[in-house]
């Protein structure tokens, strides 16, 4: 029977990072993936002469080679991934109606803190002070986060109180509460709220710490994307894993986690045989793993309480289009367009529950940043929305084609109407991914690629603080969007890296 120090199940961003970290520490590691390529939702596919990026794949906290962020330090410097990257020049353009229900918003926000603040003051005169405070608070939050990570979850409360008092005072609140405390003008709040769609929870329930972290990382370091789609990132990480001595089995499905008489992990049964190991890191939903791969008597009571009551986060719907005109010819000058029907995120969150009321739309034009994204004379545009409920559960498979065509067509209309940019006549290739598609390719429950909602008490901070008690079964831990940090490429990567380090520590204690 093959024997490994650790088995990682699932080669999404989280599983790849965990596998790389374990291999780098010299652990004999097997990474199994049920599909024939790594990546999960971080991948690509081809149609005609186009290759489509599958995900909203901007990496934050990446930074330049001269001024690297933690993400670059981890995957480039430590794992050794050597690929070409592009920086996204502007953070986003948002076109919508303010929460007052009438004021139109059309704002383009650049990266770089000063540029961003100046632009905000231009759009909402008088907001400079509150937005500056937002970024100061963000800087303190980032430092506090680094301190917390460095302290291994055991911070000195004196240090926290002396150095990070503002962080401590805001960390338990949702976004809108802190915006009010900062006395940010409502219109500025509306614009500053734009990224909520990336996290899938509205500003009334989204943790401020998590949000300010994300915004500051994007603004300070800019967003970065790999030249040859997410497949270059994930296949690249798989190659680094192998180069560091790891073993990758594609088209291999883990079916059962095996436990010994002391109820600790002793192996994994896969479609390619039984593997002997004492550590399993799952890049899969704990809900489905506990339900289908662990004996019921071993499923911790806390998880029988927590998991079935935990709402799943965003279910994705994406329209991928290869157009036979260049971005310039079409008049597309921005990389990302956020096109919610309203800047009122709580209202919008509710609208996203149903197919008929969902008008959210994030449009990306890859060629604006990466001229090599598609052949000369063409460009690629994707339109993404998310559902905050299980409306796709109700669709009859007989109506699936008609429904997805209708939603896609309305999204194209919405994009054209909001931006004034015509794309429909130039569609050379089109593919539509529904929550069902994400069920199929990423095997995520309900097509929820973002894991569980980062809502109220279940946000990133308390999850991170409870890292050591989150996975009570000995030898079994979870990485990826359903893990300790929630969704996003960075969060998935860091969850894998952190949980792997925790595992390496346990191995040390056990003398492995």
């Amino acid at each position: 029977m093959p024997k490994f120090d650790a088995v990682v199940i699932g080669a999404g961003n989280g599983g790849l990072a965990a596998a790389c970290r374990l291999a780098k520490a010299g652990k004999k590691t097997l990474l199994v993936e049920q599909h024939n390529l790594p990546g999960g939702v971080a991948s690509s596919f081809r149609r005609g002469r186009f290759e489509f990026e599958t995900a909203l794949h901007e990496l934050c906290e990446f930074g330049s080679a001269e001024n690297p962020g933690n993400c670059r330090k981890t995957i480039v410097d430590e794992y050794g991934l050597d690929i070409n990257w592009y920086q996204v020049p502007d953070n986003f353009r948002v076109i919508t109606t303010a929460s007052d229900g009438k004021t139109p918003i059309d704002a383009t926000l650049p990266s770089g803190r000063e540029n961003f603040i100046n632009k905000m003051e231009e759009y909402v005169p008088g907001c400079r002070e509150s937005v500056t405070k937002f970024f100061d608070l963000g800087a303190e939050t980032l430092e506090a986060g680094n301190y917390l990570t460095a302290s291994g979850g055991k911070p000195d409360s004196k240090v926290l109180q002396e150095k990070y008092p503002n962080y401590l005072r805001t960390a338990a609140y949702p976004v809108n509460k802190v915006f009010m405390a900062l006395k940010m003008p409502p219109l500025a709040q509306d614009i500053m709220n734009t990224y909520w769609g990336y996290l899938g929870v509205d500003a009334d329930h989204l943790s401020f710490v998590q949000y300010v972290n994300m915004v500051c990382l994007y603004v300070n370091h800019g967003a970065w994307i790999p030249e040859k789609t997410s497949n270059e990132l994930t296949t690249g990480l798989a190659e680094r894993f192998r180069a560091m001595g790891g073993t990758l089995w594609l088209n291999c499905r883990a079916e059962e986690i095996l436990f010994d008489d002391d109820d600790r992990v002793c192996g994994v049964r896969t479609t390619s045989g039984v593997i002997d190991t004492r550590y399993v890191l799952c890049n899969a939903s704990p809900t489905t793993v506990y339900a289908n791969m662990v004996p019921d008597r071993l499923v911790p009571l806390r998880d029988k309480k927590l998991l079935p009551n935990r709402p799943f986060s965003a279910r994705m719907f994406v329209v991928y289009m290869g157009l036979n005109k260049t971005a310039e010819e079409l008049g597309m000058h921005d990389y990302s367009y956020f096109l919610p029907s309203s800047a009122d995120s709580a209202k919008e969150y509710n609208n996203l529950k149903n197919i008929d009321t969902n008008h959210f739309n994030i449009a990306l034009c890859y060629n604006v940043v990466n001229p090599k994204a598609s052949p000369e004379g063409t460009c690629i545009v994707s339109l993404t929305t998310t559902y905050t409920g299980d409306c796709w559960r109700k669709i009859d498979p007989k109506d699936s084609v008609r429904t997805k065509e209708k939603v896609a067509s309305e999204m194209i209309d919405w994009f054209e109407e909001k931006t004034g940019i015509v794309i429909r006549p130039y569609i050379e290739e089109i593919e539509i991914a529904t929550p069902w598609t994400f069920c199929h390719y990423a095997s995520v429950p309900e097509g929820a690629a973002y894991g569980y909602e980062l809502r109220d008490w279940d946000s990133m901070m308390p999850r991170m603080m409870m890292m050591r008690e989150e996975y009570p079964l000995k030898g079994l831990k979870f990485v990826g969007a359903s893990s300790i940090r929630g969704d996003g490429f960075n969060s998935a990567i860091f969850s894998g890296d952190t949980i792997a380090k925790l595992t390496i520590g346990e191995m040390r204690e056990e003398g492995i």
């Binding site: 081809r46 005072r169 790999p226 497949n231 296949t235 050379e428 069902w436 598609t437 008490w457």
Partner: protein, 404 residues
């Protein structure tokens, strides 16, 4: 000025709230009611129904359908619906011929309504250059036998967000099959577009599906069929090849999209026709090219490389095999012959199901059937169905497993 932000009136309460984040979460979890964990989800079950990894079916009936052609009706084992398809899509079937296992793709040529009754139709025309698989199927398959097939796949279908309302389908020989499916789909209300099929055959007696196509076009004014005979001149038939003039004649001035399906020689001929017509790529869609049988005629194939035998070391998870391979045939053909049971579907370089890692060795990949992702090229991945070895090679191939 030092930053001082507090949310509640008393900052110390904010701090306490932070300190208690974990405690609050712990208590919130404690208060929840334990429930049974769901074993599956409705959305995922529907996705699995739409896109099964494989389907097991029974041969229900086989009937002769024109010269050398046999139409096979497949049925689900439990009488329930098979995965639905869009007219024009194909299935990849798994064929156990003697000691080897291989796959072949066949267009679904019945109405999309059939899948809901648990049935698919495919038509297998006997050809000489397909490794004798069509002959094997015609001779050895019998009603009652069970076989494994893929989910429907492929991209030769009408897409209202992309295609013109008028579609000119150019078919050659058994390339008529996807268009028969489309004609049924229009008749049965699954699709809504105007389909004119220009169907090239050598002689009148070589026409497949003639009666069905006549019946559909009589019943449905959105479907038109024009027979084009190359080797015969007869009244009521067009004569010659599928030329630019003929296409223009039947397009009749309306904007149109061209779909084509037929043998490789037809595609090569039609490349020139499309250029003559000045059609852009948006308006030209082609079925799978198929395996390239003459790599030595493809641009970039090294001189003198033809018909050399080499060894391939093939790793599949923890198993290893060494097998002979030839520079004149794709690696996948050698894998099949050796009975390795490696994954494959389209056999045209396109679908990526056979995606494998080339660890060492020289290979030739014809540009025409190079459907790899850009980063895969960078990291040394190949699609063995469109890769010809030019030296000894070491290849790592993903495994294959049965779902559930």
């Amino acid at each position: 000025m030092a930053l001082k932000v507090k949310v509640s009136l008393i900052g110390a309460l904010d701090m306490l709230k932070f300190k208690n984040l974990a405690k609050t979460r712990r208590e919130a979890i404690e208060k929840l009611q334990p429930k049974e964990l769901p074993k599956s989800y409705v959305t995922n079950e529907k996705a699995e129904f739409m896109h099964p990894r494989r389907q097991d079916v029974r041969i229900k009936a086989m009937r002769s359908n024109g010269p050398d052609a046999v139409t096979v009706t497949l049925e689900s084992l439990d009488g329930k619906a098979l995965a639905p398809f869009r007219a024009g899509q194909y299935i990849s079937i798994s064929v156990d011929a003697d000691a080897s296992t291989t796959t072949r793709s066949y267009s679904l040529c019945g109405s999309p309504a059939r899948s809901w009754k648990g049935e698919y139709d495919i038509t297998v025309k006997r050809v000489e250059d397909d490794g004798f698989i069509s002959k094997f199927i015609q001779d050895k398959w019998k009603p009652g036998m069970e076989i494994s097939i893929s989910a429907p796949q492929g991209h030769l279908y009408y897409e209202p967000l992309r295609d013109e309302k008028k579609v000119l389908a150019l078919a050659g020989g058994s390339g008529i099959t996807p268009f028969v499916g489309m004609a049924y789909a229009i008749r049965d209300g699954y699709e809504d577009f105007d389909l004119t099929i220009l169907y090239g055959s050598r002689t009148e007696k070589d026409i497949l599906y003639r009666a069905e196509l006549d019946e559909i076009s009589a019943a449905c004014d959105k479907v038109h069929v024009v027979h084009v005979l190359s080797d015969e001149e007869k009244e009521g038939f067009e004569h010659g090849f599928l030329s630019a003039e003929l296409i223009k004649k039947y397009a009749a001035g309306a904007p149109y999209t061209v779909f084509m399906c037929g043998p490789q020689a037809m595609y090569n001929f039609l490349d020139g026709v499309v250029e003559q017509l000045g059609l852009d790529r948006k308006h030209v869609r082609r079925e799978l090219f198929g395996m390239i049988k003459d790599p030595w005629n493809q641009p970039g194939y090294p001189e003198g490389a033809h018909a050399k035998t080499y060894l391939a070391r093939v790793t599949i998870h923890d198993k290893e095999y060494t097998i002979p391979v030839s520079s004149s045939e794709p690696l996948l053909t050698a894998f099949d012959r050796a009975g390795l049971c490696t994954p494959s579907r389209c056999r045209s370089g396109e679908c990526g199901w056979c995606r494998s890692r080339l660890i060492s060795g020289e290979v030739f990949i014809p540009e025409k059937t190079d459907g790899r992702r850009e980063a895969d090229k960078e990291f040394g991945y190949i699609h063995p169905c469109s890769t010809f070895p030019l030296s000894d090679v070491v290849v790592e191939v993903p495994g294959q497993y049965q779902h559930k």
